[in-house]
């Protein structure tokens, strides 16, 4: 599965306004609503679920990246949005580092495989320092989109 | 039968073709080549400059391992030599084995 299959480029938030974890998550959820990926009346519920899950176990992957996710019946297929902040947010990642890039994923309840394929893709690329570095350098939604498209085309790069 | 015609029959035809599809002469194209070659009444030998192979043998053709850009010399001998050469050229260079050329090239 490639980024283009689940990442909503229109919803990208190149500079998150929130300075803490919970507001960053809410911001990303609302970005998905604005892009028409989520119904607005479920936004609150979804954001709360993501935050709850995040409190139980941080999805901070280390090296400044976090991948909060949740399963919810309101989506038919995996949808994700990327948000970034230059200031860094505390996600209680146990490596005690701040998080700069957040990829929020909402997955359908009944297709666990789609979620796994998306996670595999995320893991694969986020493992690479080059990718993370370029990601941090993106300032506009177009830049993010270009980077992810390039990653999709060069899976072994 | 007149001697002259026999001699003509024994003459072969020869051509050099270039592999134009991106993935080269992998299994599927090799199969198409062999199937086509086998339809003609003549002997067909294909050479990549280092080895020769029987154009009607899938094993020989795959062993040639001809990648994109490789030039192959096809030699046919027998009654349908000319027809065979023409058909094979069309398959390799015109139809390109019904496969795409490399990205960015025509």
């Amino acid at each position: 599965m490639k980024f283009e299959d689940f990442v909503c480029y229109e919803a990208t938030v190149p500079e998150l306004q929130g300075t803490d974890r919970d507001s960053a998550i809410r911001e990303l959820v609302s970005a998905l609503v604005d892009a028409g990926q989520l119904p607005s009346d479920s936004a609150d519920e979804i954001a709360t679920a993501v935050i709850k899950r995040e409190s139980e176990a941080s999805t901070g992957m280390g090296k400044g990246v976090a991948v909060p996710h949740v399963k919810h019946s309101v989506v038919a297929d995996v949808v994700a949005v990327i948000g970034q902040t230059a200031a860094g947010i505390d996600f209680s990642a146990l490596d005690e580092q701040l998080v700069y890039s957040v990829i929020l994923l909402i997955s359908p309840i009944d297709s666990p495989d789609r979620h796994l394929r998306a996670m595999e893709n995320v893991f694969k690329h986020l493992q690479k320092e080059k990718f993370r570095k370029f990601l941090r350098q993106c300032q506009s939604p177009e830049a993010f989109e270009d980077l992810l498209k390039e990653a999709d085309e060069n899976p072994s790069w | 039968m007149q001697a002259g015609e026999e001699t003509l029959e024994r003459l072969g035809a020869e051509i050099t073709v270039e592999i134009k599809n991106a993935d080269g002469l992998h299994m599927r194209p090799a199969m198409l080549f062999v199937d086509l070659a086998s339809q003609f009444d003549c002997d067909i030998v294909v050479s990549n400059g280092q080895t020769d192979g029987d154009g009607k043998s899938i094993m020989a053709m795959s062993m040639l391992a001809a990648t994109y850009g490789t030039r192959l010399k096809i030699t046919a001998e027998g009654p349908e030599a000319e027809k065979a050469i023409a058909a094979l050229r069309e398959l390799v260079e015109v139809r390109m084995f019904d496969e795409p050329p490399p990205e960015g090239k025509r």
Partner: protein
């Protein structure tokens, strides 16, 4: 290295000459038996030469095999129409063309004639030649086809060998296994009731053959180089796992000498068994926990019998090998449940699947990697195959209510891998919660420290891991850049190398600072000469193969921690592996002379 001795009235026929071959002793004991030769494809390729008069028969067998294989494939190909796998159909079509290619068949039958060999041998030889021709082409698309050729080879061999295939899992008599080398796939079927010894051409102290032999408690000798070329199926061989000798076609005199020697050795083992009930405590009161390394649930009992306090390393790869499909969650669960029940409240550390550089990940489903040991193996493979990974984690979590289960991730090289793995574990816990399935929420999650990068960043990893287990086999391999299975360099492989010892020390110190548990589970833990240095470095938990537990316990009970500390200080000041190795060996020889 070999010496030929003239047979003296041994009644074995005029062609037999006793031959003694020297290799590396990797598992103690003596075994005298008939040998079974295993080929790398898990088939026993019968003796190669045939009589000239047999050639026609063999040629006909080749033709029949082709005919039957074509029949099978044609059926399979038409079945594919329904399931709509256009690409799969293509593959069958191509394989069929190959099988119908007369020049291929001719090449094989020509070989039967020219060299007077069996159909199987001819098929295998010709197809492998073709496969290697493909594999050497730089274009990956084409070189991948080598896998297709191997598939065709298997198909033809299946026809030829049919019922005659020597399935190691279905042995009915005692044998000694001889192979070029043994992969986990092949040894997964070994039943110790029938497999009495192992000898391989390749390998070293920590190759798979060695590990399996030690687990099963049978003698093994490796790195014999060309044993498979001089021995024939059914020959009598003696495997001397103490001295590292394999004797082919022994004289009667030699056999009786060995029988006496073997009895003496068994007596020593019994003496060691006597300390089963005694605790593993040094003379000055330091307690060491001794756990077992296992691969199959059947070995669990052996660990207890030998005095182990639990399982420090449960290798789970065998569940995936020797089978065409992945194991189901139930199959996982059954194996883990069976094991955990044997140990009850004693710890069982289950390591998630550590496949790689092996048939499984290199099969034709995936493009073969040029450097599998450094490639997508083990935890990396799992993180790219989450469905499979989650299945195993589910089973481990479900089994965690039955006893004291801990989960361990192999080959972790950086914190991201650990975080990702823990994230998936958490996802699995969520799923189980939703399904109201019980599991131990507080299960300990640890890692194998077996790469230089993990060793050097152990302090960071320690923040997120509940325990470490040092995998000295791979750690030594990666640190010294030596392939432990390569008989040409296996003597370079040594945990006594100062570089390795320094890394081990770093890990132990970092674990101690972070106050997390630490154990050593590589082969180093089962070697008497390393007990003192490990204790001196601060290790208090060792996990090793069951048969060696009594001997290691004996060493522990014979030393003082004080002496271990002194020894360790001296060793840390040494710079040469040879010096360290000799020093350690001498030290333990003084304590336990009969082990040598």
């Amino acid at each position: 290295m070999s010496r030929r001795l003239k047979a003296r009235g041994n009644g074995l026929g005029q062609d037999s000459e006793m031959e003694i071959k020297k290799g590396i002793a990797v598992s103690p004991g003596v075994s005298i038996g008939k040998c079974l030769i295993i080929d790398s494809e898990d088939y026993r390729i019968p003796r190669r030469e045939i009589e000239s008069s047999q050639r026609m028969v063999e040629v006909q067998r080749v033709r029949n095999a082709f005919r039957d294989a074509i029949g099978d494939l044609t059926e399979l190909e038409s079945d594919q129409d329904q399931t709509g796998g256009g690409r799969i159909k293509d593959i069958f079509a191509v394989h069929l063309r190959f099988l119908r290619d007369r020049s291929l068949r001719r090449r094989i039958t020509d070989l039967v004639y020219s060299d007077s060999v069996t159909a199987e041998y001819a098929v295998s030889t010709v197809l492998r030649q073709i496969a290697s021709h493909f594999a050497n082409v730089k274009d990956t698309y084409i070189s991948e086809r080598a896998a297709d050729i191997y598939d065709i080879e298997r198909r033809l061999l299946k026809q030829l060998l049919g019922h005659k295939r020597e399935d190691v899992g279905r042995l009915r008599e005692e044998v000694v296994v001889v192979a070029r080398e043994l992969s986990p796939t092949q040894t997964a079927g070994f039943n110790k009731a029938f497999v009495k010894g192992i000898a391989s051409d390749a390998g070293g102290r920590t190759s798979h053959a060695a590990i399996v032999a030690r687990s099963l408690g049978i003698p093994a000798v490796v790195a014999l180089e060309d044993l498979t070329e001089i021995v024939h199926g059914g020959d009598t061989v003696i495997i001397d796992g103490n001295r590292g000798l394999v004797i082919v076609d022994p004289t009667e005199e030699t056999i009786s000498q060995y029988e006496v020697y073997s009895q003496e050795f068994v007596a020593l083992e019994h003496k060691l068994d006597g300390i089963r009930e005694k605790p593993a405590v040094t003379r000055d009161g330091a307690t060491v926990m001794l756990l077992g390394n296992i691969e199959f649930p059947d070995e669990a009992e052996a660990v207890l019998q030998k005095g182990g306090d639990g399982v420090g390393l449960y290798r789970t790869e065998f569940l995936y090998l020797n089978r065409p499909t992945e194991p189901s969650e139930e199959e996982h669960y059954r194996a883990y449940a069976q094991t955990v029940r044997v140990f009850r409240e004693r710890p069982v550390v289950i390591r998630t699947v550590d496949l790689g550089a092996d048939k499984y990940t290199q099969s034709k489903r995936f493009a073969p990697e040029p450097n599998p040991f450094l490639g997508l193996r083990s935890i990396r493979f799992c993180l790219q195959n989450l469905t499979m990974f989650k299945t195993q984690l589910r089973a481990i979590l479900r089994a965690s209510v039955l006893g004291q289960v801990k989960v361990m991730f192999p080959l972790i090289t950086n914190i991201q891998e650990l975080m990702q793995a823990k994230m998936i574990l958490h996802d699995v816990m969520e799923d189980l919660d939703e399904e109201s399935i019980e599991y131990n929420r507080d299960i300990d999650v640890g890692i194998m420290v077996e790469t230089p990068s993990a060793a050097l960043t152990a302090s960071t990893l320690a923040r997120d891991a509940d325990f470490f287990s040092i995998g000295t086999n791979d750690l030594t391999q990666y640190t010294l850049a030596v392939d432990r299975g390569n008989e040409l360099v296996s003597t370079l492989y040594s945990p006594a190398d100062p570089a390795v010892l320094r890394l081990v020390r770093t890990v132990i110190q970092d674990a101690y600072k972070a106050q997390i548990d630490l154990s050593v589970c590589g082969e180093m833990a089962s070697e008497p000469e390393f007990v003192m240095i490990l204790l001196g470095l601060g290790v208090r938990t060792l996990s090793l193969s069951a048969p060696m537990i009594p001997e290691i316990k004996q060493v522990i009970r014979s030393v003082t921690l004080e002496d271990c500390n002194v020894l360790t200080r001296k060793v840390l000041g040494m710079n040469s592996e040879r010096q360290i190795s000799n020093y350690l060996r001498n030290a333990v020889r003084k304590i336990l002379p009969e082990a040598f």
